[in-house]
Symmetry: C3
Amino acid sequence: MIVAPRAANGHDLVQGNQTYTIATLGSHSALQILKGAHDEGFKTLAIVNPQTERLYRSFEFVDDVVVIPRYEDFPQNMDVLEGRNAIIVPHGSFVAYLSLDEHKKMTTPYFGNKSILDWEASRELQREWLTRAGLRLPRQFKTGAEIDRPVIVKLYGARGGKGYLFLRNSHDFEQRAAQLARQDYILQEYIIGVPLYIHYFYSPLTGKLEIMSMDRRYETNVDSLGRIPSQAQEGMSLSPSYVVVGNSPLSLRESMLAEAYEMGENVVRISRDLCPPKGLFGAFCLETIITPEAEFFLMEISARIVAGTNLFIDGSPYSYLHYSEPMSTGRRIAREIKNALMANSLDLVLDDSHTR
Amino acid sequence: MIVAPRAANGHDLVQGNQTYTIATLGSHSALQILKGAHDEGFKTLAIVNPQTERLYRSFEFVDDVVVIPRYEDFPQNMDVLEGRNAIIVPHGSFVAYLSLDEHKKMTTPYFGNKSILDWEASRELQREWLTRAGLRLPRQFKTGAEIDRPVIVKLYGARGGKGYLFLRNSHDFEQRAAQLARQDYILQEYIIGVPLYIHYFYSPLTGKLEIMSMDRRYETNVDSLGRIPSQAQEGMSLSPSYVVVGNSPLSLRESMLAEAYEMGENVVRISRDLCPPKGLFGAFCLETIITPEAEFFLMEISARIVAGTNLFIDGSPYSYLHYSEPMSTGRRIAREIKNALMANSLDLVLDDSHTR
Amino acid sequence: MIVAPRAANGHDLVQGNQTYTIATLGSHSALQILKGAHDEGFKTLAIVNPQTERLYRSFEFVDDVVVIPRYEDFPQNMDVLEGRNAIIVPHGSFVAYLSLDEHKKMTTPYFGNKSILDWEASRELQREWLTRAGLRLPRQFKTGAEIDRPVIVKLYGARGGKGYLFLRNSHDFEQRAAQLARQDYILQEYIIGVPLYIHYFYSPLTGKLEIMSMDRRYETNVDSLGRIPSQAQEGMSLSPSYVVVGNSPLSLRESMLAEAYEMGENVVRISRDLCPPKGLFGAFCLETIITPEAEFFLMEISARIVAGTNLFIDGSPYSYLHYSEPMSTGRRIAREIKNALMANSLDLVLDDSHTR
């Protein structure tokens, strides 16, 4: 369905007479994606709403802006992409605003493998994937009665940490039972350790995995509780919340880097069994907690660019090991699409699961 | 009073035969300001004291160093700037060492609008400014008896977080009453959420606002309390203190960036009513707390370059969206002065409130 | 023993016909060291084990990889360096894997002064060094009975924070007495304040000290305890651990920078008395806690490159004040070796204590 450029001349990103346009929704990591696309020579398009229009228009690397009423309406407004020679680069907000079905119905060229979304969206399938990759996962409890240690309750569809609940024990669970009664959720062991999110990029063109950067989330209110002395907390009946409002940068002890690299490789390898033949490619993130035994516990996988990479729009200590230019994950995606065009193999980096 | 270059030739920063010198006090963000000025082609001058002389002399981009006995003596030593074709770029330490009156009496060309200082220095006027800009502010209490939730007591003139006091309730207040008796202070609701400081630059030449970078303060001892388990804290009778000794970098969730941008625009817009015609321009910072509802609460505005920008002397992920070079806020200031010189409009970026 | 290049031609890093190779163990800060060496024109060699081989081979700047069974076996495998014109750049893992004696027996050219290792390895000698440099140190207690405030117990040879123990009082000490009975340790006052690690580089060629960057360690589990509300902590019987698994970046209040610079200078100055004539040179780190009185307390000195510099492989806000290129500490080391070669003075930057 995708027509690669007539001649892979190695110089432009043109199909017929028209330059390719990288398009995305104005949210999450769109600035990074579009800046990166611009730096790699693409035209760029931001799909925005009236609230975000001013912001995205203020950046020179955004060539074109299309306003839709609400991001939820994007599936009904796909025609704004027609005739633009557009390639969509998805990010975290796509999952928030588009259903799996709407993802699959989209016919615009799409960077990534849509069939992996099923394995990510279902907590059970995701657990199977990570387990088969040999990763260490927190215990899960099926019922409140089983709980024998602190847990995190994660409501289905909870995004950005909203709707996470901390429970100390099964007694806590009973008290919340009414609140949880009609909801779907998982009960996950609360691992005591420090969070670390590892941003990877897997290139289907070279078959190589790169570690791009690392961060931890900045969550309100839990990341401010420690600033209140415990005596003061007592009178305040604080309940912790995990709403992600930003990120802060980290580096990982180098002696643990080989294991981090291997975890990424294993996740990619297994994904080829799950969604053959392409499996997972492009950007993804492993969200870990590291215990005092220096063991990684896997909380979640995000099968696309994550917001933590926004810390590194001007490059990261890790990406600098591979690239002499500031290489964000967003730019790395554009570079991959460019390389595919140069090699006359655009189909290698686009979804074709919906045509199979 | 300021004579712009005879010819705006677009090539040098020369008045008559003399290059302009960017001058500042050796403290706060002086390294960034002078490095930025050097990179933009200015001569640079650090006004130092005997304790800081060695440090500032160790940098090659500092062309000239003038030693005065104490920074408090700067107003009496203004003549050191004479005959140097100097433009002063102020930073946070200026407010600490110079009174409002001394600021206004300074006749050396001064980047920024001095009349905005009145609106910043008075907590009441600042509150009026931010409220008129439509920003969300924490509640304030007039008397100890009114306190119905945790508060921060901020002594008037408290700098760098020194002299902040945390009180759980009105009972705490009574216990501290003696200590507070002869002081001026405000009682501000303690907002539970995570701090985020947003660094802006507003260009009077282009009329455009830019987000330069973001940070949070690194405060002793509150930022270490969380490392002590609550049981251990109990025997230790810890009282939290908020002395700022550094900063750490952050990024903001992109879906909240449009609101952050708008807050900055509103603050600038209202400032033109308060201090017409120029209002606030150049660097400024909004100091926010973000709640679990993802709402920004405004703690304070700093109407100049803040120390948090020192994390980004080599550029930030946000400034990289606008500039292909490492663009610190200090360098952005020098760039603005240079652009004004090029356009024969130096007066647009200098204070003229004292001559009005 | 070291033969400098025949002609200091200022263009290549060649001895006879052979380019110098920078070699190090594949761990800790090896990526930074080898990337920096590559960027300065050296050949690079990573000595790895079967677990880390894949990782180090994945980087193009690693010219050569030698696999040994275990890092502990490095002293028995020194011959892998023969005939390679190698210069070893040591890092923190060297101290973990090689005894002081093995360090001294190594005959391969070695960046740094091995005799300083004695002063660093012994906690008593280190204390003498830092005290003579005029630095503020935490109190130490000789016996458990003396303890009159919270302390950190540091086992001898504890690496990366493993084996640190927090005790509130002498009662806590008694409860742990059995566990500590047969061990060597020190009892160090627990200073309440925020940690800041300052990375320095002292050049024996220019006699100048540079501040390269700053960080704090990321320790599991203490850096996550604050995220658990105190009420929840109570039922969980948490004991804090200090295992370092990463780092996060910081900047220091500029008004404290002169003191930080002076501390570094004093440490270097005294080291020349301790280990004449060269003393400490190259990279080192002062590990401080800053109290609410804005006083630095010195926890420890590391007499070499520390892992916190891994945050700044692509440069830091502080190194950018001196260098227009991304200058990591690893690259700064390579630059120093290159400068020494250019000046025909390689011996100035290599250890000669073992030949004295």
